[in-house]
Symmetry: C2
Subunit: 316 residues, 2 copies
Amino acid sequence: MRALRFEKGELKVTDRPYPDSSSETVVKVLLAGICDTDLQIVRGYFGFEGTLGHEFVGIIENSPDRSRIGKRVVGEINAGCGRCNLCRSGDTRHCPERSVLGILKRDGSFADYLQLPEENLLEVPDGVPTEAAVFTEPLAAACGVLERTRIGSDSRVAVIGDGKIGLLCARVLLGSGVRPLLIGKHEAKLRIASNWGIETVKLDQLKTERLFDQVVECSGSSDGLQLALSIIKPRGEVVLKSTYHGNTEINSSMLVVDEISIIGSRCGRFAPALDLLSKGLDLRPLIDEEYLLKDGLKAMERAATKGVLKVLLRPS
Amino acid sequence: MRALRFEKGELKVTDRPYPDSSSETVVKVLLAGICDTDLQIVRGYFGFEGTLGHEFVGIIENSPDRSRIGKRVVGEINAGCGRCNLCRSGDTRHCPERSVLGILKRDGSFADYLQLPEENLLEVPDGVPTEAAVFTEPLAAACGVLERTRIGSDSRVAVIGDGKIGLLCARVLLGSGVRPLLIGKHEAKLRIASNWGIETVKLDQLKTERLFDQVVECSGSSDGLQLALSIIKPRGEVVLKSTYHGNTEINSSMLVVDEISIIGSRCGRFAPALDLLSKGLDLRPLIDEEYLLKDGLKAMERAATKGVLKVLLRPS
């Protein structure tokens, strides 16, 4: 089978053996999405080598549970050891021995086939198009913000960054009954949010007043955290949602005096995301372009282009 | 009356008018405690000028409520506007217009008399000696850690720093049913904690494993935050308890990937602290020396000496 891999500093589409179906489930990939994390891996920031990709929709091709063969599925990306306290509580996301699809010790979804533990795979409800279901993983990550904060319907929340994750976070917040303000730099992207009914503001028109109970930082830059700290209320929560290379300076005395929390948030649960999608959430405005897997290098190049939102990869 | 004041970069004991008793309550100070914040003010870090001091026990001398005259009291240090949502909810600690005793827009407790709003003053239970009650404010600050975290009896908690606030935090945690590990550099101070039944370790003997659900950073240095991040578990909470001058570098991607929270914590409620003191909590091992107010400069010098714990000031 073919796979888009990053090895020894080089990105290429190459031939690979069919996945091992002896202990895990094999999925034939229908559609995969390129995430900023994939771009960062190619820049060498995560130390991962192997098949890229962790966003996908596929069909179960081979499974220990024969009844699931042929089902259309998405997959939670963390595979735990199954033995530690975290795994036994049903949450593999921080298992110290976990592998992560296309990110850590496990080949990813930019391939004809992938393998995951059976329990990672959730069926996609019939009414949800594959082009929507491919957003399940990043949408779940956006839902993860609600798991990690005290956001309530009367919270005043800002989202910094109008990229994919910023737009998804703002959309999830809106769906949860909050009226977020999305702060961005790009008119076209802010318009997507406006069309959803989200209040937006261009960064250069933002008044930096400390008005927000929560600020979700999705800009992927250290400037975003500084901005978040300049608009957060005392006792507020700044949620860090995007990773970037390098360190950031913080004034920890300000955090103490104003009792600010800085909260890291990574993966979310798939169930709330699938629930939103099955209610008809339309994320197609986020799709920039679709490429065939064989043109994976071009697709990655396109995804790395400034201002581009979601680029998809289709094996065939 | 006399007051120990910091003005135009200079610290001195000087003569001042008796406080204004027209709208607030006047307290005759019996005993006051010097805190690291007072030392930082004198280094110019808070921009405060006026009478120093926010820890005290006193006797109500003049009050709108005549029945309270003569009562022995301690006082919450934040005085709010009384009109904003925070104040109306009964929590003045983050009122944007607040004054803070001896820290912000309000003369402090290193004086013969001080003034505070009537509602800030809590009576000291009869059985609690003045030398114990003088710790109410820093003990309340230590109790504040419990307000800001998910610490439970099965949490594995470390406290970094064997200074006053580190010792108080460790003691409060112990009292709440947690078995904290206190990490410090000074054998004599760690011994105080050991005598309370707290597990301690010298910094140079600490194994930096990521074992802790919560780490309370009380070292007052940026190294402390770095250490906290090296021993915190994924999804763990690092509580920042001490202020220091300057910025700290953090790797925000690590916070995201491991979903770490950094939580600022400043003042706590007085009621839980008075409750602990009335149950006989003995903090006298933290007292280094007592000075007369007229010797305030010497007292401040002593308090700034490396390794010294609590220095007290007695007006007469």
